[in-house]
């Protein structure tokens, strides 16, 4: 029998709140440790206990890590969804569940009933733990069937339970007994197999929220206020976890970063902007509904020129929408945030490594241009475990921008014959010099405000002053291009057609580009990483006859913004926009692409 080697997908469906995450992570990490590229996605309900939850794994030597719609292996512990789950399994796939397969299905699939009761009885595990330990049965069985190195599962479970024997042993007992119950014949008959590779050297496994929190802490974050919201909560919880470990002063033990759980998002952004104004490197983390509440305050930060980072882990909106499903639907809102004319630097991390990198870089950019920076991550990146290159230490020292302390003011006054105010554009780049509370120079203090003000921050309604001030502010966003991340040409097949994508839609787009190329259709792919657009975006549009913008929202928000920015090229821009709460698959992108190409 020709086995499928290192290139297949697995769907695990369980009931949420049953502790299946431990089992699923054990599978993912063990396969990762075998050196085979793998991606994992948790599809879970907005609920604590008792509803169906899915976990999908994709093993891919070719490094295709996007979501798939059809699976090779199904593990089902939730009868309620079995019939639906089976529709997602390819013919000839492997099905493991806790009941015998119906006779009409036996021919379609390699079925096996999981010996759950038998294993638990043999393991003599405490009855109260059985509901959790039963998940370890499928870990053991699957490990034997597809040849996952069981010592790596043990290693992972040890890591998970911090080597606490009392927790590790009952789990490993179950895994080993279940593993032992699979006969050689059964393994031989299994159509899927793993074989060790060495493709994950230099990689780690973590999620985008954790990466963002650590990135910010390495970026010199000093203040973060937050309010719980799925799928961003974990980011703040990671800040809480790591802040005392890595940010207390090694000499004095004192805190150098303050984390506050606010009473709501209105207060979270207020505190963060207050801190940013007073000279602390500040960030808040939230999701769509929270961003809506923050809009007015972010407008104030734009107007009074306060550096602050807003990290949005997007979920499906509008309204409460689907809180536990992913989307890229907050782009248009972010782009136009607040009443009046505004501009924002928006960053799009496309993988977990970039969540770390933009964690520190966003703080630099915010302080450089003294304005809010919005980072659009999403649930797919933020809450799933990903294999990712090790975090790279920042390649730039911390950039604090134009800040004047007591002596600096004296020098700047001398240089400019006494003429300097908080909003005086001395360098002609739109970015002015700011002072921070506590500065005792008699010229330092100023009164920040959201109202119209002159270069000395005094209130004014003078038409010319308003216009000049806001023309100056606009200039800052040209300056931002100097330090904003550039787009990446992810695929260059020298085609006449191009894909543009960003964020977590990267994975589906990259795979679609590869698959189309294999069919003889050369489609290049540029991944945008920031707004305002760098020149490469314009060049890419110029260089291609048609460009499809791939994104996980209904209306094609990035496509619309590109059309606004490049009206003369708008005719070339086409949309591949799709939102159902799941990350985009290569197949759905290709279908949509082919449909439009036919026209």
């Amino acid at each position: 029998m020709q086995k499928k080697l290192n290139e297949f997908s697995i769907l695990v469906s369980t009931v949420n709140g049953s502790g299946s995450a431990t089992a699923n992570n054990a599978l993912m990490k063990a396969i990762f440790k075998m050196g085979i590229p793998i991606s994992a996605r948790n599809i879970f309900p907005s609920n604590i206990q008792g509803l169906p939850t899915w976990y999908s794994l994709r093993v891919s030597e070719k490094r295709h890590l996007a979501r798939v719609d059809e699976f090779d292996i199904l593990i089902n512990l939730d009868k309620v969804v079995l019939a639906d789950d089976l529709k997602k399994v390819k013919k000839g796939g492997l099905v493991l569940c806790d009941q015998p397969l119906a006779p009409e299905l036996v021919e379609q699939f390699h079925g096996m009933q999981l010996p759950i009761q038998e294993v638990l009885e043999k393991a003599e595990s405490p009855a109260n733990l059985n509901v959790y330990l039963m998940n370890m049965v499928y870990v053991g069985v699957l490990a034997a069937l597809i040849k996952i190195d069981i010592s790596l599962i043990e290693e992972t479970i040890n890591q998970h339970f911090s080597h606490v024997e009392k927790a590790v042993k009952p789990n490993m007992d179950v895994v080993k007994i279940a593993y032992g119950m699979v006969t050689n014949e059964m393994t031989e008959a299994c159509p899927f197999e793993l074989e060790k590779r060495n493709l994950n050297e230099g990689y780690i496994v973590t999620d985008g929220n954790q990466a963002a929190a650590l990135g910010a802490l390495f970026g010199g974050l000093q203040f973060s206020a937050w309010y719980p919201i799925t799928p961003a909560t974990e980011l703040a919880e990671c800040l809480n976890e790591y802040n005392p470990q890595i940010r207390n002063d090694p000499e004095t033990g004192k805190a150098t970063c303050v984390i506050v759980q606010a009473e709501d998002e209105l207060a979270a952004i207020g505190m963060t902007i207050g801190a940013g104004w007073a000279g602390l490197r500040s960030m808040t983390s939230t999701s769509g509904p929270g961003l809506c509440l923050m809009a007015e305050y972010i407008g104030l930060a734009y107007q009074s020129e306060v550096p602050v980072v807003i990290w949005d882990v997007q979920r499906v909106g509008p309204s409460t929408g689907m809180p536990t499903r992913t989307s890229q639907g907050d782009l248009t809102f972010s782009y136009f945030l607040s009443h009046g004319d505004t501009d924002y630097v928006i960053l799009f991390p496309g993988n977990v490594q970039e969540c770390f990198e933009f964690g520190w870089r966003a703080l630099d950019i915010a302080e450089h241009i003294q304005s809010p920076v919005i980072v659009l991550s999403d649930l797919d990146l933020g809450m799933n475990n990903w294999m990712t290159p090790k975090f790279q230490y920042p390649d730039l020292p911390i950039q604090r921008g134009k800040i004047l302390w007591e002596e600096d003011i004296e020098q700047i006054l001398k240089k400019n014959n006494g003429k300097w105010g908080r909003y005086t554009d001395l360098d002609g780049d739109g970015i002015t010099y700011r002072t921070l509370p506590g500065n005792t120079n008699p010229r330092a203090a100023y009164f920040a405000r959201g109202t119209g003000h002159d270069e000395f921050a005094n209130y004014t309604e003078e038409p010319d002053v308003w216009k000049n001030e806001h023309d100056r502010i606009k200039k800052k966003f040209k300056k931002a291009l100097e330090i904003d991340p550039h787009p990446i040409l992810e695929r260059n097949y020298h085609g006449k057609i191009g894909f543009i994508s960003y964020g977590s839609s990267h994975y589906g787009t990259e795979e679609a580009s590869d698959l189309l190329n294999a069919e003889g259709k050369a489609v290049d792919y540029l991944r945008i990483r920031s707004i305002p657009f760098q020149t490469e975006v314009n060049e890419f549009l110029q260089a291609h006859e048609r460009v499809y913008v791939v994104e996980a929202n209904r209306d094609g928000q990035m496509a619309q913004i590109l059309m606004l920015n490049f009206p003369e090229l708008a005719g070339k821009i086409h949309k591949i926009a799709y939102l159902d709460g799941l990350s985009l698959t290569a197949q759905s992108i290709i279908t949509c692409f082919d449909d439009q190409e036919k026209k």
Binding site: K33, G220, I273, G274, K390, G438
Partner: protein, 346 residues
Amino acid sequence: MNLANMVERTNSAGLTRNDYSGESSTLCKGCGHNSISNMIISACYELNLRPEKVVKFSGIGCSSKSPTYFLKNSFGFNGLHGRMPSMATGALFADTTLKGLGISGDGDTANIGLGQFKHLVRRNMPMVYIVENNGVYGLTKGQFSATADYGLSLKRQGQNVYLPVDIALEALAANATFVARSFAGDPKQVKEIIKAALSHEGTAVIDIISPCVTFNNKENALHSYSWGKGHEDPLHEVEFVPSRDEITVEDFNHGEMREVALHDGSTIMLKKVDKEYDPTNRKEALKILADAIKNRWLITGLIYVDPDAANMLDMYDLPETPLNRLPVEKIRPSKETLEELNQKFI
């Protein structure tokens, strides 16, 4: 040059009263807020505070415009309607040697900002929080605020059919550690209470009845000058004694005296007026507020104080150097730390 005059005109910080002034007020003539601004100037001058050690905050409304009318050499931020407390909370972490001074109004605090107000108080972030309370929206020309008295008539609004929010009571319910009420027509008391509030190491709420001469100053309105003048009922006479001054018994030998010692060594002296009142007793404070509401008393003075309560900054072990002056080397962990973390994620 007359040296004696010069000495008279500067305080021990070497500053004149004018060093504490601001722009000229653009509020209406006779507005209670102007009187409060003057008392802030006097209090800071008399306390020898350096203006650069004070940070001003405000929300939106007539009250919130006033921080530009005093302490021109202090940093300040005029934020959003009802959301000054959060901004102040974040900013005050940057340098904990600074004194926060928030100016709000009744609409800013008791309508749109009630949530942020109560959470500021609950966290006990050290700052002075003054509510310039006139029961009416001034900048939008005379609508009821949440503190407007029941039955009040306003020109274009008709009658107020809702019971008012009592700011001092809301503060106490949120476990405030310093609650005072005063009347802009009693500048001496306003000044002494502000001084005491500036020494309190927690959120100090001062609800000051500050009449709006343009929209809500009818004789029988609870927020009017005439009502205040006729009905102010001080709980005690308030005198603030800064730490460096020795309290001499002769100054206070008339009548009974109560002393509240604050953490910075200063003392609030409370002289009995006609009835016994213990502002360190929360139950008594709640009762006097309930009685005042029932009987339409304008009680003023220090309603409640707990100088020993833990505050928000106590919850963090902050370094001596202000956070906003930490050098960049202090805020980025080492390469080795990152490598250790990377190992953890393999």
